[in-house]
Structure formats: C-alpha cells, structure tokens
C-alpha cells in the first residue's frame, strides 16, 4: 500500500513538476530539496512561520510535546514554551483564545487534535472568527488565525477518528478552507494560510502524514490560495478533488488511460473561495466532470462544484456531473472500504460518464 501510494504520488508529482517547470510557485533553485514526509513538511512550515514572525504562536492539546502526529516536534525547544504551548482539553477554548490572540494582531496557529473534535469549536469558528471583520465594519478581524486539523480515513479509525468535515466550513463566508495533497503542497499552502490576512481552516490528510514522501524545498516558500492546480492534463473528462483523495483519483486516471480515456485531474487546494475559472476552463474543454471526496455525498462540497458547473457550462456538458464520494452513512468502523470512494468506483464512473 505504502509503496503503491508513494509510487503513484511520486509519478504524479514528477509529472506535475514537469508541467509547472515554468511555474512561479516554487523557486526551486533557492535551496536544497529533500525527500520529506507530510508531517515533517508541516513541521518545517511551522518552524519557518515561528522563525519569520515573532508574533506567531502554536498551541493545542499536547502540541508542546510534538502532538499526536508529531507535527509540532521540536518547536517548543526551539521557540520556547511561551510561543509553543499546551492547552487543556477544551476545543471551544482553543478556538476562542486563538481568535482573541489573532484579534490583537498576532498569528495564532491552533491545532485541533482530530477534525472529528472540531465540533465543540464550531460555534467559535463560524460565529466569531468568520464574521468578526464583517460585523465590526472592518474595525476588528482575526486574520492571523489558522486552525490546523488532521482529517480523513486511515483504514481503521472508526467513527471519531476518520471524518472529513470540510463542507461545514465551506458554508461560511469569511473563512478560507485549504487542504493539501502532498508534503510539498502542505508546506507551501500552510505558510500561505498562516500569512493570509483571513482566518483559515487547514485540513491535513492524516493518512498521508507518513505515507506520502516527496522532495520538499527546505527554504521558505508559499503556494497561492484560491488557485487550483491541473496536476494531470487530459481531454476527455475533468476530475476534481482535494487532499488524500487525489492519489486515489490519480490511480483511476492511470487505469483509465489504459482504456484510452484521457483524464484531466485538478487539485482544488482551496475549497473556499474556490478557483471556478480553472475548473470551468477544464470542463469547457473536456465536456465532462467527475468530483470525488471522502466526506458523505449529500451536502458535500462536490455538490457546490457540481451546481456551479451546471450553471456555467450547461451547454458544454456532454454528460451529467458525476460525484464519487463517501456514502451517506456515519463513518463506519467495519466496512470502511465500502464507504470509501475507491479507485474502482471512480474508474467505473469515468467510463460511464465518457460513454454516456
């Protein structure tokens, strides 16, 4: 599993690098690149964020000790426990204090241990963070706020260690929602999220923390928010996804290509505000769209993309938009593989859409 994933990713990324060789996103020349896994890439980004801004702080449950997934390892030793500290078990407090700290002009980088535990903080994020600027007529804001949280399946996490709650936050104007697909992306997108003058919820694909390894530049770099990336060009169908799901979609694209179907794969990267132009341009070219995410189908962010594309590309569509998502069930303990939007489900939908 690890091998195929790593290979798949490496392939995708090598291809992506070729394609974006003229990209302004990554200035490769500036420093060493090293094979790095996702949690270490996050860790590097946090080091840089604290290093480059004396008013940046990192806190959450057990983060001073490195956190459950080791993302904050070494930060307290380096920057001291006044800037990297543990909070009690209290998500509402973590979010609320982070908003207050950010409102004082600081960069508050808060960790919620698992995305499943973000709900006690939901009110603070939705009602306080997202609307602070708007309702105060721009007198106050918490733009320095970034909430990092691991999301998604891990193979056997069960009901409360596997959820993908991104869509809840995509319904909230004033927030940004960002999800990286790989170590290199994670580092650049996290630094952008931290430095962005808006509150950001940053979901990290925990399945990839150790599994995904790729070359990551050691220097400080940022990747743009609200810009999707075409990671595999194609002509027959557009696939849109984010986070860990992209490596599954990539495999489906590979398989489809053996049947002569050319898939264009897009990493949305920022879910709100999302890059409609890139997706639209692609669908206008291919005439077909498939969206895939791990969260349940109904009310997932795929529904929004699907509606927007139906509005804007109606006459160019040659088949209904396909959505291959998690089932409309709570995240199951047994039968997780049935729940998941697997490669084969995606492949079947690609074929059905192309042959519609």
């Amino acid at each position: 599993m690890a091998m195929t994933m790593r290979k798949g990713l490496a392939r995708g990324i090598a291809a992506a690098r070729r394609r974006i060789s003229n990209s302004r996103e990554v200035e490769k020349e500036r420093s060493e690149v090293k094979p790095t896994n996702l949690f270490s890439a996050i860790n590097q980004a946090l080091h840089i964020a604290l290093e480059t801004d004396p008013r940046a702080y990192v806190f959450g449950e057990d983060v001073r000790f490195g956190g459950v997934f080791r993302c904050t390892t070494g930060l307290a030793d380096r920057f001291g426990k006044a800037r990297v500290f543990n909070t009690p078990l209290c998500e509402q407090g973590i979010a609320g204090f982070a908003i207050g700290l950010a409102a004082m002009g600081n960069r508050a980088i808060a960790e919620i241990q698992f995305a499943d535990y973000i709900y006690p903080a939901f009110d603070q994020i939705v009602n306080e963070a997202a609307k602070y600027r708007y309702r105060s007529g721009n007198q106050f804001n918490c733009g320095g706020l970034t909430i990092r949280t691991p999301y998604g399946a891990v193979g056997h996490g069960g009901h409360y260690h596997s959820q993908s709650p991104e869509a809840f936050f995509c319904h909230v104007p004033g927030l940004k929602v960002v999800i990286p697909r790989s170590p290199r992306q994670a580092k650049g997108l996290l630094l952008s999220s931290i430095r962005d003058p808006n509150p950001v919820v940053f979901f990290e694909p925990k399945w990839l923390y150790r599994l995904a390894v790729e070359d990551v530049p050691e220097h400080d770099y940022m990747l743009p928010l609200s810009e999707a990336e075409v990671i595999r060009p194609g002509s027959d169908i557009t696939l849109v996804g984010w986070g860990a799901q992209l490596s599954i979609m990539e495999q489906a694209c590979e398989n489809a290509s053996k049947d002569g179907i050319s898939c264009e794969l897009i990493d949305l990267r920022t879910l709100i505000p999302w890059d409609k132009e890139t997706v639209e341009a692609s669908v206008k070219k291919t005439g077909r769209l498939l969206i895939s995410h791990e969260a349940p189908l109904t009310g997932g962010f795929g529904a929004e993309i699907s509606a927007a594309i139906a509005e804007h590309c109606f006459l160019r569509l040659e088949a209904p938009v396909a959505r291959i998502c998690g089932l409309d069930t709570p995240f199951p303990l047994v039968y997780e593989p049935f729940y998941m939007p697997t490669k084969n489900k995606i492949l079947d939908a690609i074929k059905a859409t192309v042959n519609y």
Partner: protein
C-alpha cells in the same frame, strides 16, 4: 523514538509526550499519587460491635465491617463513615469480577497487537474498583453513562464477555452489533447509555438522562462518568449549573486517573481538586482503588442526589495501560510510578489481602478463581472469533428508521 515508530507503523496515533529530557514529573503530584498507600495497613474491624463477624468462612452472608483505606474528603458536605459493611460473599465477588475485568483488558491488548481489534481501544485495568464498587451500591435501574474507556463498565452492568469481545472485533454478536467497536459499548436493558467518543460530550447527556428520571419519579439516578482531562471541558460546568438549578438526581463521577492522554492533571488543571470544582455542587473525594470506599461513596451519593440534587464524586484512580493502544504509557510518567501504584494500591490485591486476612478463602482458592477467569476469557475469545461480521446491509441500517439510507444509496 524507535520503539514508538515500531508500534505505530502505518496509521500512527503517536503517543506524545514529554520524554525524559523534558520536565520531570512534578514531585508533589507524584507524592500525591502514592498518598493512599498500602492496603495492608488498613485497620480491619473484623469484629465490629454492631455485627459480630463470628461466622466461619462458610457463612458467606455474615456482615462484617471494614474501614476504608483513607477518609473521604468532602466539599460542602459531611462525609460518610469510613466503616463499610460488606460480606465474605461480596468480597469474593469483587475479587472475581475485578479479576475478570483485568483479564479481559489484558486479552484485548493481545488481540489488538494481533490486529484482531482495529480502530481505537482504551483499556481500564487499574480502575476496576470504580466499576465494581459503583455497581455494588446501585441497581440496574439506575443509569450509567461514560466515555470511551467503557469495556469494564459494560461488564459491570451485566454485559457478557462474548458480547464484549465480539464488539471489540467488530462481530455480529457484539453489544452494538459490531458497529461501535471498543469506544461504543451499550446495554439498553441495564440502563447503560454507553460509550462516547467526544471527550466531555457525555456529561450534559447524562444530566439529561437524570432530567428524564426526575420526571419518571422512579427514584433512580444517573452516574455520569468523565475523566480528569474531560473535567476541563466547558460542557461540564454548563451541565453542573443546570443540574443544580433543577435538582437533578445525577452523580458526576470524575475518574481521576491523573492523566488525560499524555498530560498530567497539574499541567492542564489550575485546581486538580476535581471534587471541589462544582463550587456550589457538593463533592466527595474517594479512593478509587478501594472498591469498598467506592461502594460507600456511591450509596451515600445516590441517597443525597435523590433528595438534594447533583453531587460530584472524584475517584482517585490509575490506569496501568497507556492512554490507547499506540501509547506505551511510559514516556510521560515513570515506570517507578506505575509499579509503585501496582504494589501499594492495586484494587485486586487490596481485596485479595482482605479475603486472606479474614480467612474467607485461601491463597490457592483465589488462584483457582483467577484460573477460571482466564479460561472464561479464552473461551469467549474463541467464540467471538467464530462469530461472523455484521451483514453488509448494516452499513446502511440504523441511520434512520425504515432504513432510508439503503434506498438512497441504491445504484
């Protein structure tokens, strides 16, 4: 951390924690942990004045009085007596039940390592006296609700080993039909409301159950259990206020095992005196390693809350295992601390000593009980392994009544 990475190979819920080079455990906190020292020193009142224990070992119903290891400490309440009435029968049943719980948890550990249990699994060994003592004071009409460390509470509520192991392994015969797993044990017929994954969320829920009980006028109460880590969640304080305002028959049982994951209580709580943290709600601090003290406190609390509204019981206890299966449990506390507690405060050893000193059974007879228990556990595991997985239609069942989900997902 080589040992850790080995344990947490693929999906890694790494155990955290201050390693030896970071701050040493607070010596005061360590001393406090050990404070309730040897059960051997407990003054046994073998021939209590009121109920002479003159019976022979054969008379297992004879009432005897035993003193708790340490006095109770009260907050806004007069403490109950340290003299606890018990019988040889009860002591033997405590011994048996706690041994069964311990064995079950140790077996679950092996099954997890053999990958027969997946997902998250939190073990209760060390804390058995709380489950057993509480049950001895209440009836199965009283309700219990707890967090994810729920296996032994389930057994205490009359759950069967086979249901427990089947649930752990995701099998059909499990107490939640194999759909819940370790963190979600339930037992409707014995008012066990489970098994909750979100830390602190079960607290207001438990108080709501007590609200229902108040309307039902059946003189039943709810034991709402939570950890020292959970005690820092705001929901607790909101629920305390409402329960006190409405005089609800709820006992808030704080199982203080002194750590929330890798965080020692004093790192997370300004005041780790959890029994006092209800302010206007009375509280009692109890030696949670002493089943008889737990029984006495729960009996007292039940009577109190039926008349006066909520009360907090802080159970001073200890978990031997790490927080969950990926936490070896030794990076944020010393091995000496763990072995010290095992030697001085172990809840099973405490009862064993009582039984032996009162000549209720011989050491060999107790060993035989342990052997029986081991066999029972092995047999249940063998049976559970044979049990099929839930039917795949269960994936869509119980989301709504009438299986709406199935229809929606049909191709």
């Amino acid at each position: 951390m080589p040992s850790l990475s080995k344990i947490c190979s693929s999906f890694c819920f790494l155990s955290l924690l201050p390693r030896s080079r970071s701050r040493a455990p607070n010596p005061q906190a360590m001393a406090a942990l050990r404070r309730f020292s040897s059960p051997a020193i407990l003054p046994l009142r073998r021939f209590a004045a009121s109920c002479p224990f003159s019976a022979t070992a054969g008379d297992d119903q004879a009432v005897m009085t035993v003193e708790t290891s340490v006095p109770f400490t009260g907050h806004r309440i007069d403490t109950p007596s340290r003299s606890v009435e018990t019988t040889p029968k009860e002591l033997l049943s405590f011994f048996r039940e706690m041994s069964l719980m311990r064995r079950m948890e140790i077996a679950a550990d092996s099954l997890y390592k053999a990958k027969l249990i997946r997902g998250f699994c939190h073990l209760y060994d060390g804390q058995e006296a709380v489950a057993v003592g509480m049950e001895a004071a209440i009836t199965k009409k009283d309700a219990i609700i707890t967090a994810y460390r729920d296996h032994c509470i389930f057994l205490g509520r009359g759950g069967k080993l086979i249901e427990a192991f089947s649930e752990l392994m995701g099998r059909r015969a499990g107490c939640s039909k194999g759909k819940g797993g370790s963190m979600h044990f339930y037992r409707r017929e014995a008012e066990f409301y489970g098994g909750h994954g979100i830390v602190g969320a079960q607290i207001p829920l438990g108080c709501g159950i007590a609200l229902g009980q108040k309307y039902s006028k059946e003189e039943t109460v709810t034991f709402t259990m939570y950890g020292d880590g959970a005690a820092n969640q705001g929901q607790l304080f909101e629920a305390l206020n409402m329960s006190a305002l409405w005089d609800l028959p709820v006992i808030l049982v704080c199982e203080n095992n002194h750590y929330g994951m890798g965080t020692a209580e004093w790192r997370a709580a300004k005041s780790p005196a959890y029994y006092k943290r209800g302010d206007y709600v009375p509280g009692l601090k109890v030696d949670g390693m002493d089943a008889l003290a737990v029984k006495q406190a729960c009996k007292f609390a039940k009577e109190h809350v039926l008349k006066n509204g909520p009360m907090i019981l802080e159970m001073d206890t200890y978990r031997y295992h790490g927080h969950s299966m990926s936490d070896p449990g030794s990076s944020y506390r010393t091995r000496d601390e763990i072995s010290g507690i095992r030697q001085e405060r172990d809840p099973i050893e405490r009862i064993r000593k009582l039984i032996l000193s009162h000549e209720i059974s011989t050491a060999n007879e107790l060993k035989d009980i342990e052997k029986e228990v081991r066999k029972e556990v092995d047999a249940a595991i063998a049976q559970a392994k044979e049990c099929p997985m839930p039917d795949s239609s269960e994936l869509f069942a119980n989301i709504y009544v009438k299986g709406l989900g199935v229809k929606d997902q049909a191709p």
